[in-house]
């Protein structure tokens, strides 16, 4: 019964991060990144669309992917807090992307064995895309961490800023646990070792240290978000809500 809500959590992670990274379009520090970030955003939004569509069908109340993306308020969004963090700085953007992809790659690899056909289909595509995101964002983490004094300081600041949002990735909500029990979605806690290995490999090359765990922030899965998400949704949803049912 709750499976559709577990898919919603996953879809929200992808849509919110996809929108976040698209905010760089036209503002990136160089042309290559101006192309790269919207392309990575497209991967995430494409994954979100399939998941919303599937979640809507499982819910069985006729809600479309657009209804789920545009007509839910902040408290109804179930994304983790990491993905809604504002871009602030290029270093922080790349680290956030790297952290998320380093989690999602092993997640989708495990989901290749899902008992749900659509989840398997999404996983087959997304695990390769996440490998690409790990590589692209990971190279930037290394380049900035092992760069100039200024770039290294910014990457260290990003590590400090994002660290408290990492643990939430490995938490499973009640609805996620139900989906996990049915073999539909992978058990999040099982992915910690894979994430740690990927991050350790890149941090070693980037001369970065992992801070000790302190005050992990949680709440996204219950709809308790930071202020930043409301601003993001306002921008993302305004046109759809201002013109209900508009078509072209």
């Amino acid at each position: 019964m709750a499976v559709w809500e577990a898919l919603l959590e996953l879809a929200d992670d992808h849509l919110v991060l996809g929108h976040r990274i698209s905010e760089w379009c036209g503002h990136a520090p160089m042309l290559e990144e101006d192309l790269a970030m919207p392309n990575m955003g497209l991967d995430l939004i494409g994954t979100a669309r399939t998941l919303y569509d599937h979640a809507g069908k499982l819910e069985g109340k006729g809600r479309s992917e657009d209804d789920l993306a545009y007509l839910r308020d902040e408290r109804e969004y179930r994304n983790c807090l990491l993905v809604e963090r504002p871009n602030e700085d290029f270093a922080l953007t790349m680290l956030r992307q790297f952290y998320f992809a380093a989690f999602m790659r092993p997640y989708w690899l495990a989901a290749l064995k899902s008992t749900d056909e659509t989840v398997r289909g999404v996983a087959g595509k997304a695990e390769k895309e996440m490998a690409y995101h790990i590589r692209h964002a990971g190279e930037w983490v290394i380049r900035l961490g092992d760069g100039t004094e200024e770039s290294a300081a910014r990457m260290r600041d990003a590590v400090e800023a994002l660290h408290i949002y990492v643990d939430e990735l490995f938490d499973s909500s009640d609805v996620a646990r139900e989906a996990e029990a049915h073999g539909i979605l992978p058990v999040r806690a099982d992915l910690r070792d894979a994430w740690d290995r990927t991050v350790a490999e890149v941090f070693a090359e980037a001369f970065l240290d992992q801070p000790k765990a302190a005050y992990p922030q949680r709440g996204g899965r219950e709809g308790i978000h930071n202020e930043a998400l409301g601003h993001l949704l306002a921008e993302m949803q305004v046109v759809h809500r201002a013109h209900p049912g508009a078509r072209w």
Binding site: E129, A131, R135, G138
Partner: protein
């Protein structure tokens, strides 16, 4: 129930298979391997189409073009989006790879299973002069499915169809 009318399935396949990719018009949807199958059921042609990337913006354009081609060939038409198994660049036909190269796009290095290491680099041959002395300029090129390279031998910049 699948009813193959006299020549029906073949004619439907041929009509759908000839549709060019909207972003890489030198190859057809059949060359790319994104047209999975065409069935004719009670006079309705149903085409299975698969996306290349999750967020490929051309998916809808491709589906509409295939549907239109089937209608032009005299069929009632319907599209089915097929997610599983996921498309890989290994499905691009030999003919498709050659068409890409002639068009100036380096075809994907075979096979998608061989470059899975985290920071593995691949050697891409220049589609113009064939030299393997090339360098990557950008992970992302003119479309989501391509990266941007330059040939050090003949100085030609070119797109590389990424291996996925």
């Amino acid at each position: 129930m699948t009813v193959c009318l006299q020549g029906g399935a073949d004619a439907a396949w041929e009509a759908a298979a000839a549709v060019p990719d909207p972003e890489v018009p030198c190859v057809t949807v059949a060359d790319l391997g994104i047209l999975r199958w065409v069935r004719v059921e009670d006079g309705v042609a149903v085409a299975g189409v698969t996306p290349t990337y999750s967020g490929c913006p051309a998916v809808l354009a491709i589906e509409l073009a295939v549907e239109a081609a089937l209608r032009d060939a005299g069929f009632e038409a319907r599209i089915e989006r097929v997610l599983s198994p996921p498309w890989t660049t290994d499905w691009i036909t030999e003919e498709g790879r050659e068409k890409l190269r002639v068009y100036g796009i380096a075809p994907p290095v075979k096979s998608s299973g061989s470059i899975r290491s985290l920071f593995g680099e691949v050697t891409v041959a220049c589609p113009k002069c064939g030299s393997s002395d090339t360098e990557k300029l950008s992970e992302f090129g003119s479309t989501a499915c391509k990266a941007h390279y330059r040939c050090r031998a003949c100085a030609e910049p070119f797109d590389y169809f990424k291996c996925i």
